[in-house]
């Protein structure tokens, strides 16, 4: 829960490291704890993990949609993905306990695929967004905009990260999510005890979280990089240096490669998966001459990200050739945007806050957003001249999770303060009392 507060404060490369590596360190701890602790793990802890993971994913995605700070938004998205890790790990544990190592292996492979896929995409996202925020002088989406034309290379990298974090096919987060869904369905059909009740809710939570994360990511790129600049600084932003853009492009290529080559990479996961789950062979995840990713059992389902991408490119090229033949020399012309005859101003664009207002209203009971309208200067009874509108999403989790603890600590320390009256005699009396007590105890 501290992630959204901590990540954005660090400089971009450190945020990238934090999000990419530290969350995975937690994941590593979870895996070690789950599998390699001496003695059997407590029963049902897998179920708890699945439910906690689904809840975490939903919370992260929901808060990401209403966030207007670019880096905090990415941090919330990390929480969504951490929820997915927890969910898949819990799924693997539940299935392994139910004697289904084959399906547990699918869930565990999902964890591995997603850990690396998400680390790549999130690192790229933090670096590109950090670079853009640096160039435009603000992390607030309300002050960005129009960066895609002013810093095209950084924007391309940010677009890749955005699309990857939406878990779109052919990019790095898709294989992990796909395998998680497969494990849910297989686990359900295997009929193992609590899986039959657990899988529908986990699947629904995951689907909802993915759809919400999509809205958040469109907001990040659409408001932050497209349209017109919303501030002077953003209008004067310039592309990053060659060294920076080379790094970004290298990472973007990795994001694409991890998505396209997922089936071939199953070979690399063989050793770690076999170590955690003896008897599970990761190469069964690959089918169709290495082209497709299948959930360890033939005849269930398969996806071939590379083949789908090739088909897509072919179809797009065909469409291009067709239009080329039809339209002849008539191409694309540039003209200023039309806005009903008045000059278009950045203030007329949708703001980051307004962009997800519908979602904020839909989820009002959960988010408990605050809203305050104040009329500063009333011109006439019907038209106020200046209105101050204030809204915010309070951190509900802070109120309910942290505040009781904090208050308990404060309350105790308040009582403790009476002990420290500052009088030397009293302190000597304490010493004496402690001594007597120790003597009595040691006797």
């Amino acid at each position: 829960v501290w992630l959204p507060a901590a990540h954005p404060e660090a400089p971009a490369p450190v945020s990238a490291m934090l999000s990419g590596v530290m969350v995975k360190a937690g994941l590593y701890g979870l895996l070690r704890f789950a599998w390699q602790m001496p003695g059997a793990p407590p029963e049902h802890w897998g179920t708890v993990l699945v439910l906690a993971g689904a809840a975490t994913a939903l919370t992260g995605a929901l808060y990401a949609t209403v966030e207007t700070d670019a880096k905090r938004l990415l941090a919330w998205s990390t929480i969504k993905h951490a929820g997915l890790f927890a969910l898949a790990t819990g799924l693997a544990a539940t299935l392994a306990a139910a004697g289904q190592p084959g399906i547990a292996g699918v869930a565990l492979a999902a964890v591995f695929y997603h850990a690396i896929g998400h680390a790549l995409a999130k690192a790229l996202g933090f670096l590109a967004v950090g670079e853009a925020a640096h160039a435009a002088g603000s992390r607030n989406l309300e002050a960005l905009g129009g960066l895609a034309l002013r810093m095209p290379r950084v924007a391309t990298a940010a677009l890749t990260a955005t699309l990857a974090l939406c878990a779109l096919p052919a990019l790095s987060c898709f294989p992990g999510e796909w395998l998680t869904f497969q494990a849910l369905i297989l686990g359900y059909s295997s009929g193992a005890g609590q899986m039959r009740l657990l899988a529908p809710f986990a699947g629904a939570g995951l689907a909802l979280a993915s759809a919400l994360a999509l809205a958040a990511m469109v907001k990040l790129y659409g408001i932050g990089f497209l349209g017109r600049p919303r501030s002077e600084a953003a209008a004067q932003a310039h592309d990053a240096t060659r060294a920076v853009t080379t790094t970004l492009f290298a990472l973007a290529a990795l994001v694409l490669a991890w998505g396209l080559a997922a089936p071939w990479l199953a070979q690399a996961l063989r050793a770690p998966l076999a170590a955690l789950l003896p008897g599970f062979d990761a190469t069964t995840l690959t089918g169709g001459a290495g082209l497709t990713l299948v959930p360890a059992r033939p005849g269930i389902a398969s996806v071939a990200p590379a083949a789908a991408a090739a088909l897509l490119v072919a179809a797009a090229l065909l469409a291009f050739a067709w239009l080329r033949a039809v339209r002849g020399a008539r191409g694309v012309r540039r003209a200023p945007s039309w806005s009903g005859g008045v000059p278009l101003e950045p203030r007329m664009e949708y703001s980051a806050l307004g962009f997800t207002k519908p979602l904020r209203l839909v989820f009002m009971p959960v988010l408990r957003a605050e809203r305050q309208v104040e009329v500063l200067e009333a011109g006439s009874p019907y038209f106020a001249k200046h209105v101050r509108y204030r809204t915010g999403v309070p951190a509900v989790y802070e109120q309910w999770l942290y505040r009781p603890f904090a208050q308990a600590v404060l309350w105790t320390s308040e009582r403790m303060r009476r002990l420290q009256a500052g009088s030397l005699h009293l302190y000597l009396a304490y010493l004496l009392a402690t001594l007597v007590a120790l003597l009595l105890w040691a006797r």
Binding site: A148, A211, L214, V303, A308, R333, S337, P358
Partner: protein, 317 residues
Amino acid sequence: MNPMLATVLLVLVQVALLLLLAPLWGGIVGAIEARLQMRRGRPLLQRYRDLARLARKETVLSADASPLAQVAPYVVLGAAVVVCTWTPVLSTWPGFGFAGDLVMTVALFAAMRVLLALLALEAGTTFGGMAASRHLALSALAEPALMMAVFTLAIAAHSTDLARISAAIVAQPNAWISPSHLLALTAMWIVVVSETGRVPVDNPATHLELTMIHEGLVLDVSGHHLALLEWAASVRQLVLLTLVANLFLPWGIATGLSPGALAIALAAWVAKLLLFAIVVAVTESATAKMRLFRVPEFLGMAFLLSLIALTSDTLLR
């Protein structure tokens, strides 16, 4: 015949059917509506003429648009075509099922949606932002409902492969009468209505700012780019309807590749689509569009229905 060649041929035929008939379905709905409202209406083939005219025109891009605006329309249509390659239209023969399944279909639809929303934000106008915002809010609820509804079938068929789901339901002729199947069908229909931008969620015939969603998304797009997007939208609509027809009500679909069975399947598919067109046209004529903030409740109902469908499947077996 060589099975590989047969698959490729089948895929080509199915893709061609979906692509070529897609604009017609909207035309049929429009014609039935016009009849119900005592109008003559537009000619059935008007949409093809519109597309052909748009395809010949030059595109005017906003001066604020990024290079993405030049590529995205092609990718959106490409994604629609790719989904067609594994959608069972005439036969439960797998098509290009190796390349994609249900999850991939939903993900590609999501990709189309993301690109459309980004395109709408390119010009920096108010309408684009408004439409993108509403579109994302509504589909954030519709997408999980779609996923859950088809999951109900996927779980029964032990597979997320679309052709296999269809085949499994054909194999058990009485399975469709179970409560979970009917609940999922209801949820799916609500999703289809919302995703295709029909009354009571959106009104495809209006440019009124208070109501439009889909029309607002493409307001700043023109010329041959608009042709691509409009065509892609109609293909997506037809794919969704075909999923309802062949996953939830798969009567008549061929299980092999014999010419006779394929002809029956074609007739059954067309008949089902006509039935859907009548249902949609009557609904649109008889009901008014919902207020925008009532729509989430409508879609929330679809989500809940499909969740109930999933759990009732557990409880009843």
